[in-house]
Symmetry: C2
Subunit: 348 residues, 2 copies
Amino acid sequence: MRRAVTIKHVAAEAGVSLQTVSRVINKGPNVRPAVIERVEAAVAKLGYVPSLAARRMGGNRSFLLMALNDRDRTIEAWTSGQGADWVDQMLMGGMLRCAESGYHMIFELIDTHSAHVEREVQAAISALRPDGLILTPPHSDNPQITGLLVRLGLPFARLCSETPGDGFAISMNEALAAQVAVEHLLDLGHRRIGFITGSDEYAVSAVRREGWRRAHEDRGLPLDPALEGDGDFTFESGERATATLLALAEPPTAILASNDQMALAAQTVAAARGLQVPHDLSIVSFDDTPVVRFSRPPMTAVVQPIAEMTRAAADLLIRATANVDHLPTSVVVPFGLAVRGSSAPPRS
Amino acid sequence: MRRAVTIKHVAAEAGVSLQTVSRVINKGPNVRPAVIERVEAAVAKLGYVPSLAARRMGGNRSFLLMALNDRDRTIEAWTSGQGADWVDQMLMGGMLRCAESGYHMIFELIDTHSAHVEREVQAAISALRPDGLILTPPHSDNPQITGLLVRLGLPFARLCSETPGDGFAISMNEALAAQVAVEHLLDLGHRRIGFITGSDEYAVSAVRREGWRRAHEDRGLPLDPALEGDGDFTFESGERATATLLALAEPPTAILASNDQMALAAQTVAAARGLQVPHDLSIVSFDDTPVVRFSRPPMTAVVQPIAEMTRAAADLLIRATANVDHLPTSVVVPFGLAVRGSSAPPRS
DNA sequence: CTGTTAGCGCCTTCAA
DNA sequence: TTGAAGGCGCTAACAG
């Protein structure tokens, strides 16, 4: 195997010292333009690329960002092949931003429920020494993890977390998104709008419900508590909640579900009862994973900007590592509402 | 930031030398069981995890496997949100296998068409110094890349490549898969089975067509060359090919498409012409990305075992790095045929 | 502005 | 069976 080209070769080629090359590579100050040019020419000629491993040894940066996902949920999503694309979207936002600054992103799966969360995270960090971490739900609000990172002094971003606290909180305005979704239905003429909640384990669940409530309040419309259905993000819970809602004496004419799977469940239950979507029952979902684009009819959905959030997270972490000051402690990324065929005015 | 625990701390804790700890970590020979035990206790107590960066500096292993994907195609898949899950499946197979041996997997996007492929790959390697590479199509058969890796002496695996050559070739039996898909249609009673090819840029395209041909040959059935439609893996090409096939004087009663997108296109075109799937036209697709499970009717599809292939690739690379001998130069992973609602006997 | 020195944490080689 | 010395490629701290 051909020996790799190192900073030494570049130094020799350019006729300068090791350190000068290092300065040029890291855009350090105090190098004459003429020397910079000579070094850069040598770098290009030799095709030199610094070794990340060595950089992390000498200095204190690894140029690595680590994303922590929930083990069970991620594997479940992969195995079931239900078309969720969280990881893809994260990679798209995060990897591309990392590449812009010579960083790399690496994924790790961590078991939230394990008694050893802390040890697991610590092990991953010890092995790779990332410059920053990106936490996804439910890790984002796990004090065991955030506490550890604070103790280690490692910068981190919490995706989809609106709670203030340590690290950067990156989120969309979940409450407003729910509100906008409900307003969309109200504008269509619906007055009884059911809501299927998410699992209590996730902070967003309560926030989304709050948006549903506020949409009614803002317009001075009454809200029947019976229209709140109990879900936990699974398809089955969506089926149960929908069945309960449709069994009401005065059933809803529209349902907002806290995620796509439960919205699909609502669609299935509606179909089973001979209800036509959207005319007998409008459905709006949350997240907009690819699968809802292929349902019949395609689903109106709140678009969760995962790629943008991850990009923002990577951006902040990279800048934090470069000691940029005055960074915001939280970022709110705009959400979208994709209006498709599952929402329409109610039958009059 | 609390200083990280290093091999030195462990050595001190266990009352042995640095080197002995290193031997225990790496399961080296010549250490007394009693000492091993003492060291292991110290490791556990201190929560020591070796730094990958340091390991790669001193020794020669980085415990990193690098997967190279085509930049444009991957970003296109992520952006379009069409529900393909190549990357997820690769991560599932690769990451989990890596984790079993303390390895990590990292993704890189490489532009195949760029004049600088070689430089791009070389840069990624120089930065991360992976112990092995996993190439995905179309990189798998790119001599610029494989040639470079051979020169560098880096082990690599070529996913979905059946061509013998350098590196490990990991594939499913593409020809047999196509043949089995066609036989499924023949068994249903179809006699005019159209085929939509993939892009010539991918070696599998020709191989899949060969399976279609062989299925007929094996049963002594004639094959009308007009039944071969020209595709390039895009939805649009699938539409064109289907339109051409259906315009034949004697149109096919079934179509096998070389990937899911083209199969969906066939379904769309059929619907637009008032043809009912599967009764007027049966459709079978290749790959089985999640989206085809949600089409109406759900698509019968050849299941491409991406996770298994990536797992096999990671497994071979890890073993190769550990100098295990007698490794196979190629691995054929079993494929599947998911029979769903898009295939049925033709109208008699 | 530029060069020199001293590690970073680990593994390889050699000596005990 | 164990330990000590040297170096991997780079950067921080200090000299010049």
